[in-house]
């Protein structure tokens, strides 16, 4: 299907280099390790260690090879097989005209509507400035179940439609039932409107893409009908806490290399990450329906991480999936604290483990199988590493207790060091080399590329920042290992995960109580492990120290990293600087400008805050009308349903909104007859028949007084 058939021979050659290097390194490291083990006699424990090490080193080798080839591509400055180069995409030029129609999808699930719409407004203005806005429609696809968020979304949609003069270009849809979460949300769009567009670009609630980035993606798709998905490499931005800033720095300074390396071997058989990507709609609709996975949940049933599967299905349909790592101005935010990050990881862990069904038993292209296995490895490696370290420690303990003398045999391999100790050190150096050499590559880039180091605050500061980042994540790595191990075990033993709203706000920090609750177990494990190692051998105690030090310091690290003071202190001294901080791109600056605007309405008073959405629908004629406009007209409603809704409505009026559950409020808000009747009922009820809560709401209701906060009373009545 692709017009660029001539690239295939080059792509195959690159893959041979890549997988060849992986094979050589894997064979080398496994043989070296096996040789080391056999020199002191093979036991059951050592065979187990060898088996586990073989799997673990495969992951290390793969990651290292990716960084290595990425580094080579960037240093040479010419990656002729990247998709933007193949299709001769002009880097600076905005096209004069487009032929295609594109839908920009903005799914939302109980996220902050203000931040969400500010992001959309930034993208809208950016596209408007190009003069090509007519080719784009913005779809806000809401799955929100929190009534307050839902009504606020509708209100903000109205406000921003007026503000942007969007004239029917900004479309809002709320799903009654969020079946299949995000993938179901997108599928619903495809069913309703998909046939009217050529492509869609999916955003996350915290995603940003500039007009230039979007137009480049559209140009790529227009030029080659064989492209199914083009994924950008989102850069992280907006980090304020120390944890988030470290992540952002690592992402930005190593991200290019990682992307170039990934593209090096995957080429047109790449992956999709669920957002910040453009998708050709026709094949997506025809071929990318998600399967129902066999077996019970959590591993069976509906696919949680849909993106990898959709990429595999797109490839199966014969379309290419590319990573356009060199198209900039694609961004996303990140969880601000370690605990928020881990909460997201728990969800991703289940989604990735589910892919096991497809990777092992589904008929998909080989490269997509490798992507899925990579994703599974990212989480499965944690319990494997834990098992490896545990078995090593227990084996050492068992050996010490035995009191036997060590008889060292000759090595099999001619290149193995003669001394057993040196042999062990070589293996350690090889392992650590594969882990840390990618960081050294980045340091080389900083030395060789002046423009690159300027983006990160200058050479010396950038290098120190890299070291800081390495130390910080080395400290956190054991924490991740234990958490991921717990996730894997809990999922494999049948515990499901719920799709919860991600905390994208930088304002929530981890308290000492929260950190203690989350990490106390790890600290205890750290104490036990350290004690065991000391009892075995002080040398082992030293070698294992990076492991248990991470666990012992988990509680203070979790708290300290969740605050922004550390990040600010480093920032003032020029460390952990990223290009978005040095010179914020226009799209980020636009978002910051919107975010900095003072809200025209102060917060509702506390007694009414939790059900403010419901109050607005019940009392405000305009928001009542707006909400009714969005609700589908229901025909032939069952009598039972009508009676049930009437009963809930009566309870709402007589006992106030706090007496209802979220589901009951949702039911009321989903029924147009009840919503219309509620407006009439509340206003015309005699005071004596109204619950005090409603009396308070009505007495304070106005566009200003309902918002009066306890501290801003005078300001509102100035």
């Amino acid at each position: 299907m692709s017009l660029r058939q001539n690239y295939r021979s080059k792509a195959i050659r690159q893959r041979i280099f890549f997988f060849g290097l992986c094979g050589i390194l894997e064979a080398f490291s496994v043989l070296l390790f096996a040789d080391w083990l056999q020199r002191t006699g093979m036991t059951t424990a050592k065979w187990t260690l060898l088996g586990v090490y073989s799997i673990l080193s495969l992951g290390l080798v793969f990651g290292f090879a990716q960084s290595f080839f990425g580094f080579i591509c960037l240093i040479r400055g010419r990656d002729s097989l990247r998709i933007t180069r193949q299709l001769s995409l002009k880097s600076q030029q905005v096209p004069d005209a487009l032929e295609s129609r594109v839908a920009l999808l903005f799914p939302i699930y109980n996220e902050d509507p203000i931040r969400f719409f500010n992001g959309i407004a930034s993208v809208y203005r950016s596209l408007e400035a190009t003069g090509l806005l007519a080719h784009f429609d913005f779809f806000i696809l809401s799955d929100s179940t929190d009534p307050n968020r839902w009504i606020e979304e509708e209100k903000q949609w109205l406000e921003y439609t007026h503000r942007l003069n969007a004239k029917g270009r900004l479309i809002y849809r709320h799903r009654v039932s969020n079946i299949n979460q995000k993938s179901g949300n997108v599928s619903d769009f495809c069913r309703r409107w998909g046939s009217q567009y050529d492509y869609m670009i999916c955003f996350d609630a915290d995603s940003l893409m500039s007009a230039e980035c979007i137009l480049k993606l559209v140009q790529l798709m227009d030029q080659d009908a064989g492209l199914g998905i083009v994924q950008t490499m989102p850069g992280l931005f907006g980090a304020e806490t120390l944890f988030a800033r470290l992540q952002q720095f690592a992402n930005r300074i190593h991200g290019d290399m990682s992307g170039a390396g990934l593209n090096y071997w995957q080429q047109g058989e790449g992956n999709y990450w669920g957002h910040n990507a453009i998708i050709r709609l026709k094949p997506f609709i025809e071929s990318c329906a998600l399967p129902e996975l066999p077996g019970p949940r959590p591993l069976g049933g509906r696919v949680l991480s849909h993106d990898f599967v959709e990429a595999a299905l797109m490839r199966k349909a014969g379309y290419e999936v590319w990573l356009a790592y060199d198209i900039g101005d694609s961004f996303e935010e990140l969880p601000p604290t370690l605990l928020d990050f881990l909460a997201r990881d728990r969800r991703w862990c289940q989604g990735n483990l589910q892919h096991g069904w497809i990777a092992l038993f589904g008929s998909i292209p080989l490269m997509n199988r490798i992507h899925m296995l990579n994703g599974i490895y990212a989480y499965l490696s944690a319990p494997l590493w834990l098992a490896f370290l545990l078995i090593s420690t227990l084996a050492a303990y068992s050996w010490e207790r035995s009191g036997l003398s060590l008889i060292i045999r000759d090595s099999w391999l001619p290149f193995s060091p003669a001394s057993l100790q040196n042999h062990g050190l070589v293996i350690l150096a090889l392992t650590l080399g594969m882990i840390f050499l990618p960081k050294i590559f980045t340091l080389f880039r900083l030395v060789l590329d002046k423009a690159f180091r300027a983006q990160f605050g200058g050479g010396r500061r950038a290098m120190i920042s890299v070291c800081l980042e390495v130390v910080a994540f080395s400290l956190l790595a054991p924490v991740f290992m234990l958490f991921h191990s717990a996730f894997v075990i809990s999922i494999l033993t049948g515990n499901k995960v719920k799709w919860t709203t991600q905390n994208r706000s930088n304002r929530a920090y981890t308290t000492w109580a929260q950190a203690a609750q989350a990490h106390l177990g790890q600290s205890l494990i750290g104490i036990l492990w350290a004690t065991l190692c000391w009892m075995i051998d002080p040398t082992l105690f030293f070698w294992m120290s990076p492991l248990y030090v991470g666990w012992l310091l988990a509680i203070p690290a979790s708290v300290i990293f969740s605050h922004s003071e550390g990040a600010e202190w480093l920032h003032e001294r020029g460390y952990l600087i990223t290009p978005e901080i040095v010179m914020p791109p226009e799209i980020i600056q636009s978002l910051m400008d919107y975010q900095a605007e003072e809200s025209p309405e102060p917060r509702p008073i506390e007694a009414l805050r939790e059900d403010f959405g419901l109050i607005q629908v019940a009392l405000d004629p305009y928001l009542n009308a707006l909400h009714l406009e969005f609700l589908p007209r229901r025909k032939n409603q069952k009598q039972q349903t009508t009676h049930s809704l009437k009963a809930i409505s009566q309870r709402l009026i007589e006992q106030g909104a706090p007496a209802l559950s979220t589901q009951e409020k949702d039911r009321i808000l989903n029924d147009p007859y009840t919503v219309r009747a509620l407006y009439q009922e509340i206003w015309t009820r005699p005071e004596s028949e109204l619950h005090p809560w409603w009396r308070l709401a009505i007495s304070r209701y106005s566009r200003r007084s309902i918002y009066v906060s306890d501290h801003n009373y005078e300001k509102a009545y100035r």
Partner: protein, 194 residues
Amino acid sequence: MELYLESVNPYPEINQRGSDIAYRRVDSMLRALGLQHAAMRGIHTHRIITASIVIWRNTGQPLEAIAAEMTLSEIKSGLHILTQQLTVLRKQLTHETLLLTLRKTDIPNQYPEVVLGHTAPNEQILSQLMTEFQTQNMPMVQRMSMGASTLRFETMEEVTSHTAAFFHKVPILFKLLFFGSIVAFYYVIYLFAK
């Protein structure tokens, strides 16, 4: 000079608390409608309360309920007149759509008598409404199927069904497998401990 204070209650037939509640109710409704000018809002509220008292005298219903019904009725009639006029000019609007259009304008604040149905809208108001009128321009919905998944798990289905059938035939094997796992687990621990 003699000073005498007149009663501050403009509705002497009804107790102050009752009229207060009704007044605040209507005031809130008009404020919600967008009538921000306090004096104008007061005039209309007073008018509605005074008219409601007549009904209150005859029916004995709570004054605030009567006043609220009257207010809603006036708003509804005002919207009805507007929709009829706009239908004549261009196209049919629902009350909801009209309200959303009104919200964008200052008409409820500048011309409350139009929104409350006391005065017919003039050309300027109608023209302003038509200019502001925008439907939520939903692209035409053409429902279509997302297709069925092209991914199959024949191998796994075969394996699971055969395995399940096998264990069903020989249930003792399932028990042996379970106890065998426990024995293997303790054996591994024993190996490391020895």
